[in-house]
């Protein structure tokens, strides 16, 4: 059971959150993409063994979306940040 550091509320139990898949950004102009590029955006995801950036929604708390960098092997969470404020590695 993870303890997820909500950037607003601090560490809270995993049960308070909804997982929102990998932190992939929506292309700003989908129409400029080929069908191939668009379907890759829709359906293709990395499945890394190690560092993974993903989004969570604090459903039972502050109703904020944020990003989390989590190691998929150790579950160590090394960073969490509000949208658009990714820390420099």
């Amino acid at each position: 059971m993870l303890l997820i550091p909500c950037p607003w509320c601090g560490p809270r139990d995993e049960t308070e959150f909804v997982y929102g898949e990998a932190a992939v950004n929506r292309p700003s102009d989908p129409n400029s993409l080929s069908n191939q590029e668009w379907t890759e955006h829709l359906y293709f995801r990395e499945n890394p063994k190690g560092e993974h950036t993903e989004r969570w929604f604090h459903r039972a708390g502050c109703h904020r979306w944020f990003s989390v960098r989590r190691n998929t092997v150790t579950h160590v969470i090394s960073a969490a940040w509000p949208p658009g404020q990714e820390p420099k590695p």
Binding site: C9, R12, D13, T15, A60, G61, C62
Partner: protein, 209 residues
């Protein structure tokens, strides 16, 4: 059944508390629960970096909105509970929700803000007594001990089988007994009550009308 023409409000736990009024008090109980129905509640939205909004809200409410998680501000007539970085629950007197919402709307007109009367969305239960913190902790993953959860702290989190807004009125240090207000979604009030009855059983839960 109520006469339709009188249009009285009804708490989702009305009958339970009605029954409790006639029951003899339980002196051995170490936790008690009390219903405070029809508390006026207003949802207030606005951006925390919008100085004009914050100033107008302070002017209208007579309190400065808390800007961090767990924050609660108390004015003469209202309380403001932090629900999110751009969301507050303003708690006011019984039946005062629509009037407060109207006044706030007027004061915030022209600003980026949202004011909604949500008095019917949640009911308030007060939980107190020496064992009240243990009862809550049995269904809450937060650290409820002071200094982690001091008096005046309020936040939204799951307790038992519902997501509630939990406000610590007294952390129970020294001679004092802990006391909490819980704001629960009205549709889940009865299910939450069933949880509370079970969680409070080892401590002798008593119902105060």
């Amino acid at each position: 059944m109520d006469d339709a023409t009188t249009a009285r409000p009804r708490s989702p736990l009305a009958e339970l508390f009605l029954a409790a009024q006639s029951a003899p008090p339980d002196d051995s109980a170490t936790v008690y629960v009390q219903s405070v129905p029809f508390v006026g509640q207003v949802s207030l939205r606005g951006r925390p970096d919008d100085a004009a909004f914050l100033a107008a809200a302070q002017d209208a409410l007579g309190l400065a909105l808390p800007l961090t998680a767990g924050g609660m501000a108390e004015g003469e007539a209202h309380r403001a509970l932090w629900l999110g970085p751009d969301h507050w629950l303003i708690v006011t007197g019984e039946g005062q929700g629509p009037a407060l919402a109207g006044a706030l709307k007027d004061r915030l007109r022209g600003l980026f803000a949202a004011v909604i009367d949500v008095s019917g969305a949640r009911m308030r239960l007060r939980l107190g007594g020496p064992a009240s913190r243990q009862v809550l902790a049995s269904g809450c993953t937060l650290d409820l001990e002071p200094p982690a959860f001091p008096a005046g702290h309020a936040l939204q989190t799951p307790v038992g089988n519902a997501t509630v807004i939990l406000h610590c009125l007294d952390a129970g240090q020294g001679e004092a007994e802990p006391m909490y207000d819980l704001y629960l979604p009205r549709s889940q009030a009865l299910s939450f009550w069933r949880w509370l009855e079970h969680a409070g059983k080892p401590y002798g839960l008593s119902v105060r009308a």
